[in-house]
Amino acid sequence: MDLFANLALGFGVALSPLNLLYCFMGVLLGTLIGVLPGIGPVATIAMLLPVTFTLPPVSALIMLAGIYYGAQYGGSTTAILVNLPGESSSVITALDGYQLARKGRAGPALGMAAIGSFFAGCVSTVIIALFAPPLAEVALKFGPTEYFSLMVLGLVAAVVLAHGSLIKAIGMVILGLLFGLVGTDVNSGVARYSFGISELSDGIGFVTVAMGMFGIAEIIANLEHKESRDVFVAKIENLMPTWTDIKRCIPAILRGTVLGSALGILPGGGALLASFAAYTLEKKMGDTSMFGKGEIRGVAAPESANNAGAQTSFIPLLTLGIPSNPVMALMIGAMMIQGIAPGPQVMNERPQLFWGMIASMWVGNLMLVILNLPLIGMWVSLLKVPYRMLYPAILVFCAIGVYSVNNTSFDIYLMCIFAVFGIVCVKLECEPAPLILGFILGPMMEENLRRAMLLSRGDPTVFFTKPISLVLLLIALALLIIVLSPAIKRKREEAFQEA
């Protein structure tokens, strides 16, 4: 079997002492960040990217992936103990998790979250291993026409699944595409939108944009209001859920895993959407009387789903080279800095990287379960560090991080501009996530559009006459129509309202 040979290769890479170390550092840092409210995985990964420049590509990606799914674990700890989501994807966990903690059942809630996450992590690792290769095979047949349509579909899906106003999200995507075009045009050599500034002729770094709009802007937003944190300090004695809990949660974990894996693959999907959907589904199943009052299924399902979704969102990245959410956009950036062109060819050209990363996800999930349950006490004490001590440290790491990408202070100033822009966007309810996706895809989209038009001798109907391209565009159109139809529109607003 190819699958086993591939996985064996992957585990060979992932289990090398060096990669184990980076995987461990990744999940540990990820959990740390996940536990701390007020700093998300996007800002963290952007902050730590410069640190990974000197690592070999496999180790760098293993560590960054570890940060992402580690953050999901950590986020749930905060959600359950403090009723504050450490990560946006654990907003839902806080609903029932905190109620359980108040009833003295924080231990079993944390235990169940860990078990559910681990199970989901195992399943989604297998799903990636099974589905990524055939998808990459299909993608290898894609020409520029198909790629352009695929990116259109990806961006439309990202917009559809974004919070809030659809038209604002579309505007943000286009603005992101435009920002992505700043810098020297590969075809003509013209430095676009650089205003004679030499730093800008290399383009705007995505680390700069991500750190400004997610990292610094987040801090500024947090400083507007006094923090109120009510840490649940009672001693957590028993982490093991009872047998009844486990029996009740098995179907919830299964449903959460399936739903999360499916939603993670979608562009715009990933952990956040997965956990919301899983909770909504769970509330419609069986005995619903306890939801909102401490239902352990309300912890197990979204926790399984967000971990599954976090992992399967790597599928479009690894097979198509298209990011499905801002974290994946950063991963693409990390790959490009390491000199790897993301896309379907990665699997064939660098099987060690591809399979090593997949295997490391399983290893990382195992580490999380083994390490984090005993370390809960440490995370709780971390939660007691007030935000006023925390954010100056984040500022320092952002400043050093963004400086060290190109060793120039110019990027710090640019980051400030994006931070202010990010705050303005928050005030106007324009989501930054679609902008980041557009930003990463901008140059790729232009390049594929140019090639497609060159091949078709300037005939734009080519996007509708090539079958694969037509299908992709029709799906995009269907998505838009569905979301714009009044009934669905209402439902969608309700779904986001529950956040």
Binding site: V51, G171, I174, L181, R388, M389, L449
Partner: protein
């Protein structure tokens, strides 16, 4: 004319502004043809679409009632961006330790709850950590002291 949805009104204006700016600056570059697109082609098209979206939002905001813009707090914005810009300016001539002290001090002052004893401890701890991890450990080429 009365603005009924301020949030959408300003967002629309922002999109129009960016769209027109990108399209106007693109006039300096070659348009090319649809077969061989010049550097101006894609940004002009996108800028046009963006401006159109902005215009649609603007018109809607005059007709349909919508939420107000949330209050803008200037203090954290000014202090944090100011602290970062100073860090950038001071890093090369004076080194990491002094630049970091300014960044942390000024950044902390931008918060709601400034306690100077904590800030001093924070500066010392972060300076030691950053020098050890980033400069010594990772070997980033950052000057530590003035004249380095």
């Amino acid at each position: 004319m009365k603005i009924k949805a301020p949030k959408d009104f300003w967002a629309g204006l922002m999109f129009i502004g960016f769209g027109i700016a990108f399209a106007l600056i693109a006039l300096n570059y070659q348009m090319g043809t649809s077969v061989r697109m010049g550097p101006a082609y894609f940004p002009t098209v996108l800028g046009g679409i963006l401006a159109a979206i902005g215009l649609a939002m603007l018109i809607e905001s005059l007709l349909v009632e919508g939420p107000k813009v949330a209050r803008f707090y200037f203090k954290p914005v000014l202090f944090l961006t100011g602290a970062l810009v100073l860090f950038g300016l001071l890093l090369k001539p004076l080194g990491l330790v002094i630049a970091l002290a300014v960044l942390v001090g000024l950044g902390a002052f931008g918060g709601l709850d400034f306690r100077w004893k904590e800030v001093v401890v924070l500066i010392v701890v972060l300076a030691i950590f950053s020098v050890l991890v980033f400069v010594k450990g990772l070997g980033l080429p950052i000057p530590v002291w003035p004249g380095d």
